[in-house]
């Protein structure tokens, strides 16, 4: 059956979702930490802004990204001139769309994991001479890793499944920007039922694996908490 099926969308989707997850981790963990340790108007504003991608229709989010990063926008022009990165109708655009749509899941999950860490544990590490960066890697990440990991899985799943935002930003150029969800839509539009079925089954399989590992992780997390307390 594999004969004749183009697996490019699957690999592109995995690559896009993987890259988006890495970006979400790098950018999201410091933000999550900041949000977990302070509680003021600025925190509330950032929190609202970060929740928007979850609530907004993907097309609306995609449109904002087009306006912000299109070739005629300041940021878009800067990226193109300086780094030769083009966002619109490119895989890079798909990565950006997936990152923005999915990162809030990581940030929310990591934030609550960080807030569970007692402030005095961080204070103790400081008084024992460790720098903030060192504390982040030797105390915060090890204590919050379960929450972070469940955020990572959710983020990866969300990035993998993104349809609307990606379509708005990077379009559907076969063998270039067509990700799995878009390929499924295209296959259905073209009346190719067998291809649609196979693609849908693959996506469902990936989603089941993600959710199953998430559930296992949450069970472990519950146990871990009791152990620490």
């Amino acid at each position: 059956m594999a004969h004749g099926i183009n697996l490019f969308p699957l690999f592109l989707s995995l690559k896009v979702a993987g890259t988006a997850t890495v970006i979400a981790i790098i950018a999201g963990l410091p933000i999550a930490y900041y949000l977990s340790r302070s509680n003021n108007k600025l925190t509330d504003a950032i929190d609202t802004l970060l929740t928007l991608p979850i609530v907004l229709p993907p097309t609306v989010l995609g449109y904002y990204l087009l306006v912000a990063f299109g070739r005629s926008s300041t940021i878009g022009a800067y990226l193109e001139e300086t780094f030769n990165i083009m966002i619109v109708f490119t895989p890079a655009g798909a990565v950006m769309a997936a990152s923005i749509a999915a990162a809030p899941f990581l940030i929310k999950s990591a934030r609550s994991a960080f807030s569970e860490i007692e402030g005095d544990i961080i204070n103790a590490a400081k008084l024992l001479g460790r720098t903030n960066v060192n504390i982040f890697f030797t105390v915060l990440i090890p204590l919050a890793w379960r929450g972070i990991l469940s955020g990572v899985i959710l983020t990866f799943a969300r990035a993998l499944g993104d349809f609307g935002t990606t379509l708005m930003v990077s379009g559907s150029i076969p063998n270039y920007t067509t990700t799995m969800p878009i390929a499924i839509y295209d296959a259905l539009q073209a009346g190719d039922k067998p291809l649609t079925n196979v693609l849908v089954l693959i996506m469902t399989g990936v989603a089941v694996i993600c959710l199953f590992s998430l559930n296992r992780l949450e069970k472990k997390m519950g146990k871990g908490r009791k152990k620490i307390a």
Binding site: E118, D120, I121, L127, L128, G129, L143, I228
Partner: protein
Amino acid sequence: MLEVQIEKSLHSFHLTSSFSVGNEIFGIIGPSGCGKSMTLQCIAGLQTPSSGKIILNERTLFDSNNKVNVSPQSRKIGYVFQNYALFPHLTVEKNISFGIRHLPAYKDQVHEMIKRVKLTGLENRFPHELSGGQQQRVALARTLVTKPELLLLDEPFSALDPHIKSQLEQGLIDMIHENYQGAILYITHNLEEAYKLCNRILVYENGKVVQVGGKEEVVNNPANITVAKIAGCTNFLPVHVTKQSEGKLQLLSQNGMELVIPETIRLGNQQMIAGVHSYRLKLEKNPTGKMNTLPCQIKGMVQGITFMAVQVICKGHQLEIKVPYDEWEKLKAETSSEWYVHIPAEHLFLVPAA
């Protein structure tokens, strides 16, 4: 030697504090929210005072005028937190080595310290597998192994059961003295604990220092009614001075009770409150003719473990007297139905009327 002179405003709370500590155990007591923990956090660098100075062994840690604010990492201060704040993901050994892992021979020092605080055999346990007392020793070892110049103890016994607490108190202090020479700040809301373990005591009330002094002075001659209450005093009589002669003061209470006390330095306005600890009062059957012996009626009694707490009414004032049981048995055996209370003049103290 630690010198602290700081002010800190946070929302509606204002802390003003000034004291200096030598190589001693210095107790800081007061009700919760009075500024004790804030003081420790300012000294440790976890909070920045609004203004003032903190100097430790001639090192300026904080000086608002010269914009000095040393980071907590470089202050060389040991801090034992209220709940010990052990790293839950690290073993006993790794908890203790956390502050000295960058040193070449850190493992030897850690093992030496584990021996000294009697944690041998527990090196590979995690904090949640330890008893409260063991956790406390890990917290202490973790900070002492870094050779701090100042040790801060924030209610180190509040996380433990009371019966364990009394067993561990002296052990903790001995362990500290064997491994550390320097100033110790000991925070507690319990005066008895501070009295047992500290040399001098500072009392806070609403962010202000109300008394600093030797522990006997704080208990026997409290600066105001709050300190007296913290010191466990329950007997207060509103009085004014009627006569002052030959080193003695004559007092007259609201209800006409006459008392004599040795003249004290702390004599301000005429309206005062006389206080006396309940364990200083003597309940008697026969008037002995001693000064300040007055007839009274028994109103009620509560059984304590080591004493009978007797409530008496004397000239319309209610007084509590703690009578040891052997004395109580003797008193009950006497035939006379009259009761007298003797208020020893040397144990009466005067505080300003609130």
